[in-house]
């Protein structure tokens, strides 16, 4: 008896579901639960992490991210406008900057700001300034590209229509082009903030005091406690998710909101 194509696809799907369930069951049966909990989800060690993991580490991660994003967005807007400028040297400068900071590992930039520049120029920054410069200048390169793409994704006819109505270049950009570009860049821009949140873990390279620890450093320091296992890092990891998952949801909310507005 021949089986129809649709039936075949149905069976194939059931087989895939079944395989996944079997795999999950095997993992549950095979896992050494007491050791696993002892090493990774140890309740005593989890309790030891609080409240500092929130009041110090999470707080610092958020502060570093916000500092970096503030500089990154400001510099990114400037670089994006330079990149689409009709003045060629602006475009060259912007391209040079973006290629440089996008091409170098963030780790190298942090080392440069932490040790290279202070040594070479005999200057000493406040540690928050160093964090802001290092995180901000790296993210500015990515943010600039996101913004440039957004600005250029707005059809040329929009600019022409605005100018035809007597708007100046600046007025057309502010009233017509940038609001449309903003909608386009919101999802990729949220991505940048999430990347920035994780990049802030590199701050440890600058040699922080205990009160300046952010999540990743805090988690690693916690590993040295007796019987700690991996639990401190797992707690720190969950704290990152506390920041990044709502950011993703927020981006989706904005995306849906703008869509809903135009379909009302």
């Amino acid at each position: 008896m021949a089986i129809s194509l649709r039936k075949k696809q149905q069976y194939s799907r059931w087989v895939q579901y079944a395989l996944l369930i079997v795999l999950a069951l095997v993992l549950i049966v095979v896992a050494d639960w007491p050791t696993l909990i002892q090493q990774v989800f140890n309740p005593t060690i989890i309790a030891d992490q609080f409240p500092e993991v929130l009041t110090v580490a999470l707080k610092n991660t958020i502060i570093y991210t916000l500092l970096g994003f503030a500089l990154g967005l400001t510099l990114g807007i400037l670089l994006a406008l330079m990149k689409i400028s009709s003045v060629a040297p602006y475009r060259w400068l912007s391209t040079l900057y973006i290629e440089l900071f996008r091409g170098l590992p963030a780790l190298v930039v942090f080392l440069a700001f932490g040790y290279g520049i202070p040594l070479a120029f005999q200057v000493r920054f406040n540690s928050y300034v160093t964090v802001m410069l290092a995180l901000g200048m790296v993210s500015a390169a990515y943010i600039a590209e996101v913004l440039r793409a957004g600005l250029q994704a707005v059809p040329k006819g929009q600019y022409e229509a605005a100018r035809t109505l007597g708007m100046s270049h600046t007025r057309a950009m502010v009233t017509i082009i940038i609001p449309q570009a903003f909608r386009i860049v919101l999802p990729p821009l949220t991505n940048e903030v999430i990347l920035l949140t994780k990049d802030s873990s590199l701050v440890y390279l600058l040699g922080m005091t205990v009160s300046q620890y952010e999540l990743a450093k805090f988690g690693r320091e916690g590993l040295s406690a007796a019987e700690a296992g991996l639990t401190p890092l797992v707690v720190a990891g969950f704290c990152y998710l506390i920041i990044t998952i709502p950011l993703g949801l927020l981006a989706r909310y904005f995306e849906n909101k703008t869509k809903a507005r135009s379909r009302k």
Binding site: P155, G157, Q158, E160, A161, A162, R163, T164, L165, G166, M167, S168, R171, T175, I176, P179, Q180, R183, R261, S262, R263, K264
Partner: protein
């Protein structure tokens, strides 16, 4: 020079184009165009694609900068390097092939944004003007919609209302029906016809030969960056003298190459 201040005085502008040249790199698109549009006249620019008619239209409000020659609109030199082009553009309405409505603004806001930001009208006045013009194009009931909720023909009518809300002295139309579904073309052409009857000065690039024949005071046939033939619509469309005009018209009016000649 205060163009804006005069925008209430003479209702309709004239256009004078003298020896206009425009090149893109080594390609010369306009090779010395001379043309006059009297106040209240409707002039249709026809010709094959690539003939330079859209470029000519876009030179009139300086969306394209000509390399040589002069354009005057209502005695203001558009091509003067010192001209306040933003002020001059307030008096020149333009309608595009692709509508170019602002998708992030409602239909009403599309018609008020430039009135408020450029002409500095207060919101209530801008709203009144916008609603009056939306009523004129038959879309007052769509004022709170967004552009992507409208059909192509409706969007183009909003674009006309948006341009009219600036109280222009001259309207430029760049193939306004070329992107429309056939059944919505008539609505747009009807509004343009109404504008023409009201005495608006209009410069229209179009492939709608029936519209050119019925509405245009003068028809200009362009090919290869020059004006090949111009005159009344009866002369140019009804009885063309130049072989290139005859060839173009026979292709446009009878694209399948069969059937009767245009009488």
């Amino acid at each position: 020079m205060s163009v804006a201040a005069e925008s209430t005085a003479p209702a309709h502008a004239s256009v004078t184009i003298t020896n206009l040249h425009k090149s893109y790199g080594s390609v010369e698109v306009l090779k010395g165009i001379n043309m006059t549009v009297e106040p209240g006249q409707v002039v249709c620019l026809i010709g094959p694609s690539g003939s330079g008619k859209s470029t000519l239209l876009r030179c009139v409000n300086m969306l394209e900068t000509p390399n040589q020659g002069h354009i005057q609109v209502a005695n203001h030199e558009v091509t003067d390097p010192d001209v306040d082009i933003n002020a001059l553009r307030q008096t020149i309405g333009m309608v595009f092939q692709q509508f170019n409505l602002f998708p992030h603004l409602s239909v009403l806001e599309n018609c008020t944004v430039a009135q408020i930001k450029v002409l500095k009208r207060d919101k209530a006045q801008a709203r009144d003007v916008a609603l009056k013009n939306l009523a004129k194009v038959g879309l007052a009931d769509k004022a709170d919609r967004f552009p992507d909720q409208l059909s192509g023909g409706q969007q183009q009518r909003v674009a006309i209302a948006r341009a009219l809300s600036m109280d222009p002295q001259l309207m430029l139309f760049d193939e306004p029906t070329s992107a429309l579904d056939p059944e919505t073309v008539g609505d747009v052409l009807a509004i343009m016809r109404e504008l023409a009857d009201e005495g608006m000065t209009m410069l229209v690039v179009t492939h709608e030969m029936a519209f050119a024949r019925d509405v245009a005071d003068r028809v200009v046939f362009m090919d290869g960056g020059v004006v090949v033939e111009e005159g009344t619509s009866d002369q140019v469309i009804g009885n063309p003298q130049q072989p290139r005009t005859q060839d173009f018209l026979s292709r446009v009016l009878n694209p399948t190459g069969v059937g009767l000649e245009e009488s």
